[in-house]
Symmetry: C2
Subunit: 232 residues, 2 copies
Amino acid sequence: MPESRASRDEVRVAVSTVIVALRPHPRTGTSVLWLPLVRRTREPFAGRWALPGGWVPADEGLAAAAARNLFETTRLQPAYLEQLYAFGDVGRSPTGRVVSIVYWALVRAEQADAASEGENVRWVMADELPELAFDHNRIVEYALWRLRTKMEYSRIAHAFLGETFTLTELRHVHEAVLGRPLDPANFRRSIESSPAIVRTDERVTGGRHRPPRLYRYNTAIELADNGPLGTP
Amino acid sequence: MPESRASRDEVRVAVSTVIVALRPHPRTGTSVLWLPLVRRTREPFAGRWALPGGWVPADEGLAAAAARNLFETTRLQPAYLEQLYAFGDVGRSPTGRVVSIVYWALVRAEQADAASEGENVRWVMADELPELAFDHNRIVEYALWRLRTKMEYSRIAHAFLGETFTLTELRHVHEAVLGRPLDPANFRRSIESSPAIVRTDERVTGGRHRPPRLYRYNTAIELADNGPLGTP
DNA sequence: CTCTGTTCTGGTTATCCTGACCTTTACTGA
DNA sequence: TCAGTAAAGGTCAGGATAACCAGAACAGAG
């Protein structure tokens, strides 16, 4: 939520985005969830960390406004963007009534590494969040819950990976999101029975082990069932 | 969406509600989904049917505004109210930019029967909708999809029934929502294995058959997993 | 060249869940 | 007393899942 233009009898509309990336834990090295925060430069909550966002102009769609604000503050262009929830309690902002349409985005690890991290943008681990401005802690909590439940029936893991990937890479994404280890053999079976992911003939050599095959998403199949809205 | 107060550079916030009730089909007699529509009295779309709704005042929460608008236009007080989606495309309304926070509500059959149905409020079957104002057909379509997918893991069927109910009544609710018949024996097993619904010792006599037992929801258990927001 | 550690890959088994179907029970109304 | 109806409970096969085991294929050390 950006600067305030307080006024009575007016409901202002903002967009905020919860962005999630997969990066290694600094100590254990296992992949965990990270998200970028921006430092607020104005009141209210000046100096506090918050989710990237801004006001919605009259001539721009909600998703477009979320993506634009995200790019302007962090230079990130997410591989996945989905509406999460509209937060509109009366007391959310001390400077007037604000309804925030919150979006939820995933970025690939390469993008996250290349993203500008300066004075006012910082990546933090999802389970080590500081106290955020407004009700943003609650928003992040809800976003992570949605991520965990959605992973099961959708192909959102795709957003974290490149065009091709090994089964172990894909399994690491699932493990990071779900927070528990998965059996490699069973995971392989569940993926190979799904038409959304196809095996290629390519292999990856160079590791001290049997070379794994590369897989890719089957773009012809749309498995994620988001209902009549397509990608709501 | 109510009357327009067109102005440039301003994003107005409205709430609309998709309300669903279970009532018998006029010919077949089986229970199907119905929803109440209100006739628009002003431009744009004057004379067309639309979802009940209105503007959000600065001092009222989103869910509260949805419930109040719903009561004022239809006298309905839903047993269940949940946020569905925020629709905010630029061209939704011909009279300026409007972001509609759409809620989704269920009412019991008794309430639906007692509801005022006059010149400007009419109940229609979900699969025989007329052409609605704005993008409301698309909104209803999405709401019904959510209802069908959510029925599986939640206790929302409760909203359609009273305190106690027989398994057949509960099964009829599920059948109406899913649109297909369910095996009574298997349905019984799935319900009895769930801790959310408990069997009482009461029976219902009067039918020309073995008297069924009454069941009730276990209020101590919160099975519906709506995440950290509780009832988002 | 052989050995070893690692991960990939495929297979087996027990278990749970689901759907389809059948039988018995218990009531009302003719 | 009988017929009709729906409740209630049981069986059984098939599919999905989880846990576990074993061989295959590489890189690097010695």
